[in-house]
Each structure stands twice: as C-alpha cells, then as structure tokens.
C-alpha cells in the first residue's frame, strides 16, 4: 500500500517538497538549540514551559478526538461515518507523533529520554503520559493499518481488531485526562488548580479535533475523488457545535469561580492574559473570545451549519479559537505571575517558532502521506 504515496500529481509533490524544506530549516534550528541550549528560546526561570509544551497539550487533544468518529461508528453503528473513521484514526497518528516531538525538543537532555523507561516512576504524571501516549499511537497504527489493508484486499478486517478499537475509545479519553493531570495537580499554580481541567481539555479537544477533520475532509474531497459525504460532514458539524458549547460553558464556569471568589492567586492569571499581558498575548486571547463566539453563531444556526462552505468557516473559527486558548494561553497564563507574584513576559523567539512550525510540518507530511494511501485504497475499492 505504501507505493500509493509515491505516485501523485505535480501539486502533491510540490506540497511534499515545500513541507520538507520547512522541516529541513527546522531541523537545522534544532541542531542549533541542541548546541546552545534552551537559552535560544524565550523560556525562562518563571515561564519554564512555553510554546513547545503548549503545542503538545493541544495536539494530545487532536489525537484524542479521533474517538468522536470511532465511537459513533463502532458503538452506535452510525454507518455514515464508515468512510470517516479511517481518516480520524490516521489523524491521530501524526498528532501523537507531533506530541512526542514537542516533548523531545522541550527536553534539556533529549539524549537521556530512555531514562523515563529505565527508571519508571508511577508517581510522576509525566511517566503515565508517556505510557498512554505511546500506547495510543500503537493502537491507532495497528487499527488503521489492518483495517486499510483488509479493505485493499477486499476482505473484512480480522476479528482481533474489534477489541482493540473498543479499547482505543477509553484510551483516547485517558490520554487527555492524564495530560490535564500534568497541570491540575500542582500546588501553588492557581490557574491550573481546577478539577474541571480534564473535562475542559476533553471538551475543547472534541471541538477542535473534529473541526480540523471537517477541514481535512474538504481538502481531501477537493484533491481526490474520495468523498465521505455531506451527511457525515454535517454530523461532524453537530458534534463540534455541542463540544464547543460545553467547552465555552466550562471556560465561563472557570471565570465565575475565579472572579466571584476573588482569590488573587487565581485572578491574576486571567488578568494577565486578557488585560495586562503583552499586546500579542492580550490580542490572541480576545481573538479567542471573538472566534469562539463567531464559530458558535455559525454552528448553532442549522442553515449555516448544514451549508458546507459556512460550516467550514465555523469549523476554522473553532479550531483556531481552541488553539489560542490551549496552544498559547493555558501554559503562559499558568506561569504568569510567578510564585513571587512577579510578571515575567515570555516572548517566543524566532528559532523557537521555527522549530515549532517545522514539527507541525512533519505532522502535515505524515498526514498527507497517510491520507494519500487511504484515499488511494478507498478510491480503488470504489471503482473496482
């Protein structure tokens, strides 16, 4: 099946080449970081995690969101998602890999990464995160690959995949729960000290992931003859709508608790993000609010939700809004002010952004190749 990735149009190869160029630049920058240390980033004593760990957190959500297509199809026998499940599972694979890469580039001593397995430490949430994330990657690789190769041979997938698929459902929930536990169990970090951190993570993931899937399906449809169908897309739109409502609702619960209780150590983080921070951060947070509202207005109205072009706009709004909140605000906001009540401004540096963009490009490269193979096989079956 791999050979399907090696043939394609000029545009396909131009896209692959463009991604490789950015990845190359990013790799060079990473070598520079390895040599100089994380001092070349904007990270510091006070904001000791930044862009990298925030991307990791956001992408765990994207990976987990595959469950939103797997669950209706396998547990509720929702046939319309038949063509979508594979795209969902194949989205989880690059998302998991990107998560791992973001962890590795954030490490001060990546050469020692095996110590996590040589000295397993069950009381560290980081250890569990590694375990569940690698497990989830493995599950999706096995499930995606066996179902696709069965399909290419025109036979039913082997029986033993079914239990794995069922296992992948709670497993998806676990990866994002454990990721939330990284944050919510830390004393003295008021912004993260909230029991609804895990539910919040899941809600925003189930909004962001399927909205990304909507956009990907539209691209796939444009460039191939593979089409999961408007019905499936509209159903995804419905899922995004519910998840985004829950996500915004949770966020507002956070705002109420923090401001009604008026505990300074909880309030100050919000103040920094929405009022007192650097212009680009404050701008990003208000953009998050604006996009969340616009996205919801588009999605809640059945006319605009069911009309595919406006659905795409709504999905894009939701995706970007979730990224701003989780891929930017969550980590920076949690670390500012620092334990001394001091505000240290974290500004991602150019090398740091380059490395982050390059990892996203690695993700897109893997996604492109996987989708190329998947749509190739599916198209063949449809014709044959």
């Amino acid at each position: 099946m791999l050979e399907k990735a090696l043939t394609g149009s000029k545009g396909y190869f131009a896209w692959i080449f463009a991604l490789l160029v950015v990845i190359g630049v990013g790799f060079g920058t990473y070598l520079y970081q390895l040599n100089e240390g994380l001092g070349i980033t904007g990270l510091n004593r006070d904001v000791s995690w930044g862009l990298y760990i925030a991307q990791f957190t956001f992408l765990v959500g994207v990976a987990a969101s595959a469950v939103m297509v797997v669950l209706p199809y396998y547990l509720h026998d929702y046939k319309e998602f038949g063509k979508l499940t594979l795209l969902g599972e194949f989205l989880a694979i690059p998302a998991c890999l990107m998560c791992m890469l973001f962890i590795v580039v954030d490490m001060g001593r990546p050469d020692r990464v095996v110590y996590v397995f040589l000295h397993p430490t069950p009381n560290s949430i980081m250890f569990w995160d590694t375990v569940v994330l690698s497990g989830y990657l493995g599950l999706n690789l096995v499930i995606g690959w066996t179902t696709l190769s069965a399909e290419s041979k025109g036979v039913a997938p082997p029986r033993w995949v079914k239990p794995l698929i069922y296992l992948s459902i709670p497993w998806a929930v676990s990866i994002h729960t454990v990721t939330a536990f990284l944050y919510q169990g830390l004393p003295g970090r008021g912004f993260w000290m909230t029991a609804i951190m895990a539910p919040r993570f899941l809600a925003s993931a189930f909004a962001a992931g399927p909205s990304f899937l909507i956009l990907m399906v539209l691209l796939v449809r444009r460039f191939t003859r593979f089409d999961p169908g408007d019905v499936a897309l509209r159903k995804l739109g419905q899922i995004v709508t519910y998840a985004m409502f829950v996500s915004v609702f949770f966020f507002l619960m956070e705002v109420f608790t923090v401001f009604y209780s008026a505990i300074p150590e909880h309030k100050h983080h919000f103040w920094y993000l929405f009022v007192g921070g650097p212009w680009w951060l404050v701008g990003a947070m208000w953009l998050f609010v604006a996009l969340a509202v616009i996205g919801l207005v588009i999605l809640v109205n059945p006319r605009t939700r069911n009309n595919i072009p406006t659905l795409a706009v709504g999905a894009a709004c939701v995706f970007v809004a979730s990224w701003l909140e989780k891929g930017l605000g969550l980590v920076i906001g949690g670390f500012t002010p620092n334990p001394f009540g001091k505000y240290t401004v974290y500004t991602p540096t150019l090398p740091e952004v380059t490395i982050a963009v390059a990892i996203w490009c690695i993700g897109f490269l893997i996604l492109t190749v996987l989708y190329k193979i998947a749509t190739g096989v599916k198209q063949e079956r449809a014709i044959g």
Partner: protein, 255 residues
Amino acid sequence: MDRGKRNFLKIAGLTGAGAYVGFVGAEAIGNKPGKAKKKLALVIDTRKCKGDCPDCIAACHREHNVPEEHNPNFKGPPVRSSQGIKWIWLSTFGGAFHEQVNEHTGRRKDPLVVLCNHCDNPPCTRVCPTKATWKRESDGIVTIDMHRCIGCRFCMAACPYGSRSFNFHDPRKNLKAVRPGFPTRTIGVVEKCNFCAERLGEGLLPACVEACTKKAMSFGDLKDKDSPASVALRSAYAITRKPALGTGPEVYYIL
C-alpha cells in the same frame, strides 16, 4: 520513603492506571513529616538580616560553581537574568509572603533571603519522571542527580516557591573561576540549593550560614532539641512561605 515501598509502588503502579490514583496518595502520605531520620532546617532571623550584604549569596555561588549572570569574561551574548541560575537570592517581603501583605501594617522594606525550602512533602520530587530528584531519608535534604535529570522541567512547574533553576546556557561559559571541589553542570539540567550536603558530610555548616557576619542564620536538625535551629525557633515566632499548600517548608523566617 524506603526502597521496598518504592519498588512496591513501581510494580503496583505498572499494574494499571486504576490503581495509580491510590498510589499517588500513598506517595504523598509516605512523604509525611517525620519520616526522615533528621530534619534539617534553616532559620533566618530577619531582625538581623536586612538583605543588604551579599555575603551569603557570594559564598554559596562560589562554593557551588553557580554561574554569574553577567560574566565580563564571557564573550558572547549576555545571559538574560530571567534565564540565570539562582541557589540563594533576595526577594522583596511581598514577593516571598504576598499573602501577608496589606496596606495598614508597616511595610517591610528590607529584602529577604530565599532559597529552596527542602520541603517535608515536596511536590517537586513527586512529579519527577526519572527519580532524578528526591528527599533524602537520612536528613531530609531535597537533592538532584544531575546525571539522571532529563531537563523536562516538571519540577520547576511543581515547585510553588520558584526555587529551581534550569541551565538554559552552558554554565561553564559563565563561571569566573571553577572551584575544583564541586562539580560544574551541563546545559539542560535543573539545579537548586542542596543545603550544602557536601559540606555537611565534612562536618561543616552550610556556606551561607558560615558566611553570615550578622549571625542571622541558624542551621540544624529540628529533631534535636538543642540544635541551633531548634533553639532559634523556640526563642521567637517564625513563619514559613505558603504553609497552606502542605509542603512543609524547612526554611523559617523570624520576623
């Protein structure tokens, strides 16, 4: 926590995520105060220390090869102070004790000396994914194995006192002089105050305590009623930073 229990946790933890929640609890309880044979503590008398001399900081940083932030000998871009290394440093009173500040009581203008609190129940060690940092059973010192640290900085997020530093830059470049008796560090590992474990082994006091000309620091085992720290704590009212978090800091401030 003893080794048997540690191994038990390891095996039990591996059997499933369900069991794990319980064991986090066990770990936290296992770390409860009084588990260590000794309980080393530092008592800082802020009536004597006005934070106006650099003696303790200079002594500590010399002793432990802590790099300078702005080393004139280093030819390269200066290290941003937010990326510097600190083992012991000065904070405003409001910074160290912001829950204690209000408009009406007299403002404390003098800076305070702050450092790692060598907590009884340290969140920083709980989160480490490689057991590179732990609380020593023998004396309660919270220590780091710089050869084990992977530089994930989870401990920095977990410490509610901002006590940990990360080697963002090659620390050796910014050392004016290297003291051969203490290891220098590499890029990418976390470090902090070690209560001068290396000096205690030789029967010496911590460098900061020894260097203090005002005699404002008392160091010793709180399980020993006659240690200087115990005597100092009996003699006056002292507070610790953020006691409500349950970390049990072992650095006390006499006001």
